[in-house]
Symmetry: C2
Subunit: 278 residues, 2 copies
C-alpha cells in the first residue's frame, strides 16, 4: 500500500466531532482508515458504527482502549477482565484487528515493580479470548509522567518483554511517538519489537511545549514540537511494519478547527514528515 494511503485518523484527534460525522468527514477527505474510541462508538452503538465504517469503506486501525488491569483487589481485577472481554468483542464487531491496552496505574502504597511484574499473567488470561476473536492486544507504553495514574509500562523495551512473558504470540506493542520519543533505547527497542513480530500500531503526534495544564492535551501536530519523525519512522519501517499510521493528537487548537481543516492539516504534516520515511 502506498505510504500516503496508510494515514489513519484517531477519533480523539477530532474529539469534538460526533461519531457519525467523524466517520463521514474522514471518508469524504479520501482518508482510508480510522482509530476508534469505545466511549465515542457507544454514542451510536457498536452495530451502527461498524455499519458506518464498513459502508464508508474505511479500515479500523485500532480500538482504544482496553486495560486498567492493575486493581489491587480480586473484585476490581475481575471487573476489569470482564470489561476487557467486552472491549475485545467490540473490536471484533468493528473489524479492528488491534485493541490498544493502557494497562493501568497504581494505588498509593503499591510498588510499581510488583504491579508491573503481574501484567503478563493478567494479559495471558485475556489473550486466548482475543485470539479467538481475531483481535491482537497491543500493550501501550505511556510517557513516564503517566506511570502512577495510567500505565506502569513506560518504555517499548519493557513492553515487549512483558508481551513475551505473557506467553502469547498475538500480544504486541503500540509505538506512540509522544510516549517514547525521549527514550535513548527507542531505536533498538523498535527493532526488537519488529523482530518478535509484535509491532501492532504506529501512532504519531508531536511533543509540544509548554506542557498543557492537563498534560494529556500537550500532544501536537507533527512538526509543531520536538520529535524527530525521520528517525522514528525509519526505524518502524525497517521492521517491515506495513499497517496504518494513526495520527492521535489530543490538542485543543485542533479540536477548535472545522474538521475539514484539521484533517487537511494533519494529512499535510503526515505527508511531509512521516510518509516519506515509510
Amino acid at each position: 500500500m502506498a505510504a500516503q494511503n496508510r494515514l489513519s485518523i484517531n477519533q480523539w484527534s477530532m474529539r469534538t466531532t460526533p461519531c457519525e460525522q467523524f466517520i463521514s468527514a474522514v471518508a469524504a477527505a479520501g482518508i482510508e482508515s480510522v482509530g476508534l474510541w469505545r466511549q465515542n462508538v457507544a454514542e451510536i452503538g457498536v452495530r451502527r458504527a461498524a455499519g458506518l465504517v464498513r459502508g464508508a469503506g474505511l479500515r479500523v486501525s485500532s480500538l482504544c482502549r482496553g486495560g486498567f488491569l492493575t486493581a489491587p483487589t480480586p473484585t476490581g481485577r475481575r471487573a476489569a477482565l470482564d470489561d476487557n472481554r467486552r472491549a475485545i468483542d467490540e473490536a471484533h464487531q468493528l473489524g479492528a484487528g488491534v485493541l490498544v491496552m493502557v494497562v493501568g496505574g497504581l494505588d498509593p502504597g503499591q510498588s510499581i515493580s510488583r504491579v508491573r511484574d503481574a501484567i503478563p499473567q493478567t494479559i495471558a488470561e485475556l489473550a486466548p479470548y482475543a485470539q479467538d476473536a481475531g483481535v491482537r492486544l497491543a500493550l501501550e507504553p505511556m510517557h513516564p509522567m503517566f506511570a502512577a495514574d495510567r500505565a506502569v509500562i513506560s518504555t517499548l523495551g519493557n513492553a515487549v518483554l512483558l508481551a513475551e512473558a505473557s506467553g502469547h504470540s498475538s500480544v504486541g506493542v503500540v509505538v506512540d511517538s509522544y510516549h517514547i520519543w525521549w527514550d535513548p533505547q527507542v531505536l533498538d527497542a523498535i527493532a526488537a519489537i519488529g523482530a518478535a513480530d509484535r509491532l501492532l500500531s504506529y501512532q504519531v503526534s508531536d511533543w509540544n511545549l509548554p506542557l498543557a495544564p492537563d498534560p494529556l492535551l500537550s500532544r501536537g501536530v507533527m512538526g509543531d514540537g520536538y520529535i524527530d519523525f525521520t528517525e522514528l519512522t525509519t526505524a518502524v519501517a525497517a521492521t517491515g511494519y506495513c499497517g496504518d499510521v494513526e495520527a492521535e493528537i489530543f490538542n485543543a487548537d485542533l479540536w477548535a478547527m472545522p474538521i475539514a481543516e484539521s484533517l487537511a492539516l494533519v494529512r499535510s504534516r503526515y505527508e511531509s514528515l512521516v510518509a516519506p520515511h515509510l
Copy 2:
C-alpha cells in the same frame, strides 16, 4: 556515619527562606548537611556563604547546578562552558565535592539522539578543570517530561553510559528518586553506576499527583506520593554509597510552612522511609 546523620536539605526544599536564615535554621535543627543553589548563594556572595556553612559546621552535599551545554551554536556552547567553569569554582569555594549537571534540552529542529551523543565530548572539556578543583561533575537524568526543555538525559542507564564515554573517572551520576522511579531498569542501573564508582548523589522526593501546573513543583515529601523508597534506597545502599541523602522537594505547601516545621516534617519522613534502608 549513622543513617540519621546523612540527611541533607537541598536549599530549594526551603526556597522561600533567604540563604543566611536557611543555613542557620538547618544547623539549629541539628541537621549536618545542605545542598546549595548558585543563584541563592549569589544573594549573599559565595565567600560569605562558604564562611557561613563552615562556621555552622555543615557539609555541602552538592551545588546546583551546572549544565545547559546543548546550545546549537559554538558561541552558545562557549558561553555555557565558561559559566560551568565558574560553577566549578563556586563548588570548590563552598566545599561542595559534587556539581549537579542538568545537561540541557533541545532547540526545535534539533534531534534528541544527536544532541545526546554530543554530551560526552562537552563534559570531557570540563572534567579536567573540575578534577583540579576537587569537584566531581554529576550528570542528572531528569524525568522524560523535561527531555525537550531541560535535560536530554532521561535514564540512569543512559547517564552512566555518557559518563563513561566522557573518558573521565571523576564524572558521575545523580540518582534522584523523582526523576527515575518509573524506570523498569532502575535497579540494574543503580547497581551499574555503583560498580563504576560513579554514584555521586542520592536525592529524594516523592511523585505526587495530580501534577502541578508547573510540573517541576509536583515533587512531594517522601510518603505523600507513589515512590517505593524501600526498593530504591536498598539499591543505592547496596552499591556502598555512603554520602549524604539530599531531600530536594520543590513543593508550594512545604514552602508555605515555617522552616522549622518543614525541616521537622522532612526529617521525620526521611527517618521513617529512607534511613532504615541505608
